[in-house]
Symmetry: C2
Subunit: 474 residues, 2 copies
């Protein structure tokens, strides 16, 4: 078990003297920094918060923490869902949100260089003004890009465009020792030793702190169209997804949703867009599909091919949204799932398991079936195009927190076991953090988690950087 | 410095008793196994060659080698260019070519499960018979897929489809201790701890031996068209490449070539397809571009847009190849560059440096300029779409091998330095092996190579697996 030192006045003085960014302690630190968007994993206040201004700040902080053996972590917008950006051991938290400059576009190589504290929203918008697109599109637009890279964030458009990993060309990294280095290059193709860059992507701030990113961008698709596709059953709904892929229709996004969550979300936003009954047939599941392309003809061809295949394979109808406001309406309910859940329930836990796409229906059916045994409610939705499923366990029995946690643990054990049986994995895009760490060894195996621990120690011999996340403290 | 034991009779007996595959020693081993396709890096005969039949064979061999501290490596088709698959420390070589079954297609998830000894050519052909495509397309079609993954092989179509890394979903791996594990899953999206799978891709057989692969496939593009585009100067030629990307024309391949190598290659194949002079203007550089798509209309639109942009930006002409035989002819010269070089010269060395695409022209101009200082000839060609350049140093002065090697080393130092100055890297697709190892620390830095060494030791505490490749022997 690693023993860390406590922050003392000498340390704080040294820190304050050496960094450019502002240093906050104790009561000066806003309570928001004590948790992320999944407060059920606990509240942990850092002892010191530094609003970093530069790579040099980050380097000096890490050097000092390494010398004093004080735990330290970087935090973006705090929008994570597994507690990766929470100071569970106290110590120093580095707020990266001040390092938020879009530094330089290189339109010959189609890359942009940014600081890690830039919000996804801001880069996405800025690219569009130039006629380009930054494709990764996770639900939370006010996450930082550093956070997106650290979890290999996926999002809606991963189906066509891939995940954040596919857009990271290079990065500047401060190692836990304070040393500054670079991984990767502007180039799209490399075979120059082990891919340290790919090791950093998805490592949840445990191997080094990213202080600059070079990200790939693409020309903006000029047209999009969305389809709302109602089905009588979830099985029929999910079964159409491989059909669309095999026909090479390249959807930008394919989300599925069950009746229950649409009802809850439409109630929350106060607007009904999804049909509930069509000519006497109850709708129990939906696909929400978007196509994008460079011209309307291309999109129309895709849409017609898709509509034909969908109806042939059991869709009750195909509703087309082809204007910006209709597309916005079609996505409004989907975009509000999380808020709808947050507004309805006091106790919320979740997982974002990923399964092969042809296993989504049996998996969700299994989840619904075992969900009956538990006191909490289960709300599920997810990315039908990549098998990444968001399964929420929710309750309002605030006074039964321990029982809720116990039952959720049993439930998660059951569903993770089923996901692995189906060839899936623990997390598609949220990561492991400390919230899911207890499951990692069980499902990824001792051998793989031992390798991860070994790698962690190579980067961080004193285990000071974001301890207790991804790799257990032991 | 790690000290290895010598193979003795006891070891060979134990090995022969425990594995299913055939065991060869000393003179029974064909001389071909002593080098790869770059014999200038030396000839090293393994002491033992085992033709592995199964994962269990590989596991038993590694367990035994680890116990006896005997160096061991896996070898595919031996088509590498940096000596990764050569037994520079003697010991045991595992021939993986017998593990060559295409195991199972899963067309719901668009993946195929294969053994690592399957040749790229065989998987590519097999996919096509089913209407699918395995996109990675390195020049050497009779490389094994295990080898392709181990070097993150790129190839012609990387511009549109990405490199081998983008097609690896999961793998079974035998660790140097003999333990068997799996990295990754069938799913397209994952954030489940450090990406051990991505660490394996491009690690050149130094971290573990891949015994099974799950690879992504895509629906086959139904139509292709190629353009031969002549330019008066290399600068004009390369300057058009970003223009095509910004117009979102998504070429499948863009190769560039200078006049000199076209002349040599056309002489070798005995057929002239590339124009040398157009209405009095000498052609000094060419682009060879392919577009693919699902229907002819789509391709025609792309081709017309491209032709217009190319001529606007300095192309002398645009020659269209739109029948299979015309496309084959257009690519024949390009496909024969290596053979043409091999047939002409006795001493050959090369590098496959990668630079940002807008630096290709200044880089090649630099290479041509400094090439003048040396006794050898320089032949260059490369992937204009991704900046990956193949630069050959060639000579027929067989009796001046030492001088050739000395001059090549100086030349490589100059061009690697320039590549890094331009934001590039050492290798785009061939890897480091032992042939390029001496340059890795210099250009990737002590810090990064120390991290690589640390990672190597986590996987391979006794440093028995493919020692002296990627990570230096100390």
């Amino acid at each position: 078990m690693t023993v860390y030192n406590k922050v003392n006045d000498e340390f704080i003085n040294k820190l304050s003297e050496s960094v450019e960014g502002k240093v906050f302690t104790a009561d000066q630190i806003n309570e928001d920094f004590s948790h992320d968007e999944m407060p059920i994993y606990g509240s942990y206040q850092p002892d010191v918060l530094v609003a970093a201004k530069s790579t040099e700040d980050v380097s000096k902080i890490l050097k000092l923490c390494n010398e004093y053996k004080i735990p330290v972590l970087a935090r973006g917008a705090g929008s994570g869902l597994v507690g990766s950006g929470v100071a569970i051991n106290g110590g120093v938290m580095i707020d990266m949100q001040g390092m938020n400059k879009i530094l330089e576009y290189d339109l010959d190589n189609l890359v942009v260089r940014v600081q890690p504290g830039v919000y996804l929203h801001d880069l996405a918008e800025d690219c569009l003004t130039k006629g380009y697109m930054y494709p990764p599109d996770p639900g939370e637009k006010f996450a930082t890009l550093g956070g997106n890279v650290s979890t290999n964030a996926g999002g809606m458009r991963a189906v066509k465009y891939g995940t954040t990993r596919d857009y990271v060309r290079a990065m500047e990294v401060v190692l836990p020792t304070g040393e500054i280095t670079r991984f990767g290059a502007v180039v799209s193709k490399t075979s120059t030793g082990y891919s340290l860059k790919d090791l950093m992507v998805g490592s949840e701030g445990t191997l080094g702190i990213i202080t600059e990113l070079t990200l790939k961008i693409v020309p903006q698709a000029k047209h999009t169209i969305s389809l709302i596709v109602p089905f009588e059953s979830l099985d029929e709904c999910i079964a159409t997804v491989p059909v669309l892929f095999r026909a090479n229709l390249k959807p930008q996004a394919i989300e599925f949703m069950e009746r229950k969550i649409i009802l809850a979300s439409e109630k929350y936003i106060g607007k009904e867009t999804f049909p509930k009954n069509i000519e006497g047939t109850d709708v129990n599941a939906y696909l929400l599909i978007t196509f994008d392309g460079d011209n309307e003809d291309e999109i129309d061809v895709l849409m017609e091919q898709a509509a034909e295949l969908l109806v042939e394979n059991g869709a009750i109808d195909v509703l087309v949204a082809d204007t910006p406001s209709a597309i916005k309406d079609a996505w409004a309910a989907r975009s509000s799932f999380l808020e709808a859940i947050n507004s309805q329930y006091k106790l919320i836990d979740e997982c974002d398991v990923v399964v092969p796409i042809n296993k989504i229906a049996p998996f969700i059916n299994f989840v619904n079936e075992i969900g009956e045994k538990y006191d909490f409610d289960v709300q599920s939705f997810g990315h039908a195009g990549d098998g990444n499923l968001h399964i929420y366990t929710v309750s309002n029995d605030e006074d039964k927190l321990d029982e809720f946690n116990k039952q959720v643990h049993e439930f998660m054990e059951e569903i993770y076991a089923k996901a692995y049986e189906f060839g899936g994995q623990l997390s598609g895009e949220h990561g492991v953090g400390h919230g899911k760490l207890k499951y990692l060894k069980e499902y990824e195996g001792q051998l793989n988690t031992d390798l991860m621990r070994g790698i962690k120690k190579v980067f961080d011999p004193n285990m000071i950087l974001n301890p207790g996340k991804v790799v257990s403290a032991e």
